[in-house]
Amino acid sequence: MMLYMNDAVLDCVLLTIRVAGVATLMIVVIGTAVGWALARGKVPAQLLVEALLLLPMTMPPVAVGLVLLNLMAPGGPLGTFWQLLTGERLLLTWQAAAIAAFTVAFPLYVRAAQEAFTAVSPRLEGVAESLGLGPWRLWFQVSLPLAAPGLAAGGLLAFARALGEFGATSLVAGAIAGRTETLAVAIYNSINNGNEDQAWMLALWSAALAVLATVASRYLSTRFPSVERRG
């Protein structure tokens, strides 16, 4: 099977990268802070918060989609906020697909980030503090680089999950070709329409993207070399 590319497939691949990329970016920024706070026990009612954070991962994605559908609908809190911000509706846009991917993939990253920060030796942080390193520099020069390989692995997991997101996405973003039809949704539609060749080709493109993401993640984690747990 050849990995050929036509305009429709190119649109679909680029849209998927955009949706999963934006979702992963939001996940990494917010999830790193949340994972760190959880690892350092700085969150009140931590067990309950952890259970709630994991909910989108443990619920069926289509059930998550149902919740998001209500939040994003005109009159729903997210829908109203988006309307005020942009003057447009949120449902059936690529941004809605990105929010769905964000919601479903977020717990995976937070778990990884929490574990990565938990594994950072408290003694390394203690030494740096005793030497007078301020809280921000401590975070950026000690905690973050030491947790980086775990964060990169978590980012890859989240990106892969966002790439394949289907259940919630199809509910809130639909399948408008070129606008909201991501690879996962397009594969489903191709099979439904009896176009199995197209489905196979889209599946291969999904695999190619996943391989690319894995290589990028491995490369990024080697940018922080020699992360030994003991000094």
Binding site: S121, P122, R123, L124, G126, V127, A128, E129, S130, L131, G132, L133, G134, Q141, V142, P145, L146, F224, P225, S226, V227, E228, R230, G231
Partner: protein
């Protein structure tokens, strides 16, 4: 420098309960802390540095005019606020930084960087990462990092344990000279009495979580023989 320590530290670990109690006041420039592994030396250091959980410590600790903690009055300075630059046993260099970046982590502007690097023979190690260094080299880098960091006190925990005897003597001599001209007090933890005698003007022997003996180090041998009735 006047030290006033009166505290109890206890873990509630049912598998491995540990208690350290100390009520001791003394004046010293360099305080030696001696004892066997597991006796409480490192716990004492970690209580001083504020690395033990606040909930496990009761009592107070004053260094000069600075009150580091007084649990009855709700005083508990953070590790950063205590300004005690620490060299732990395992050196704890940041593995992603070169030796030079480790040394300059918080070095004071205009600090005598070159002098310390030369004295500790670190010139050839500056561009290396910790994983490329031997145990002794790591300890010398960690020592330089602490000496150059802003601090009101130095806390060295077995700082020469991984050095060979020639380097040990040279480094000890460098520390002795530096202490003589600087006015910052130092705690020097070691399981080697010869190091304590060389550099310290007051020693504490910690065993099984208690202060077993204290005084000028040269008197310890006499105290021991006295105890043995010889």
């Amino acid at each position: 420098m006047r030290f006033d320590l009166n505290f109890a530290f206890a873990t509630h670990d049912s598998q491995l309960p540990f208690k350290l109690e100390l009520n001791h006041q003394w004046d010293a420039k360099v305080t030696g802390i001696y004892g066997h592994s597991g006796g409480g030396k490192s716990s004492l250091v970690e209580v001083l540095l504020g690395l033990k959980s606040r909930a496990l410590v009761r009592g107070h600790c004053r260094v000069g005019s600075a009150l580091l903690f007084a649990t009855a009055d709700g005083v508990w300075l953070s590790t950063r606020e205590r300004r005690c630059a620490w060299v732990p046993q395992e050196a704890a260099l940041l593995p992603h930084l070169t030796s030079l970046s480790n040394i300059k982590l918080t070095a004071k502007a205009g600090a005598d960087l070159d002098a310390v690097i030369t004295a500790l023979q670190l010139e050839g190690l500056l561009s290396k990462k910790p994983r490329q260094l031997s145990g002794g080299e790591r300890q010398r880098v960690a020592l330089a990092r602490a000496l150059l960091a802003p601090h009101d006190m130095l806390v060295l925990d077995e700082p020469l344990a991984a050095l060979d005897s020639a380097q040990r003597l040279a480094t000890l001599e460098f520390l002795r000279r530096r202490v003589a001209v600087e006015h910052t007090p130092m705690w020097y933890v070691s399981h080697r009495w010869d190091e304590i005698v060389t550099i310290c003007d007051h020693a504490m022997v910690i065993e099984e979580g208690r202060l077993r003996w204290h005084g000028p180090p040269r008197l310890w041998v006499e105290a021991k023989t006295g105890n043995n009735g010889q």
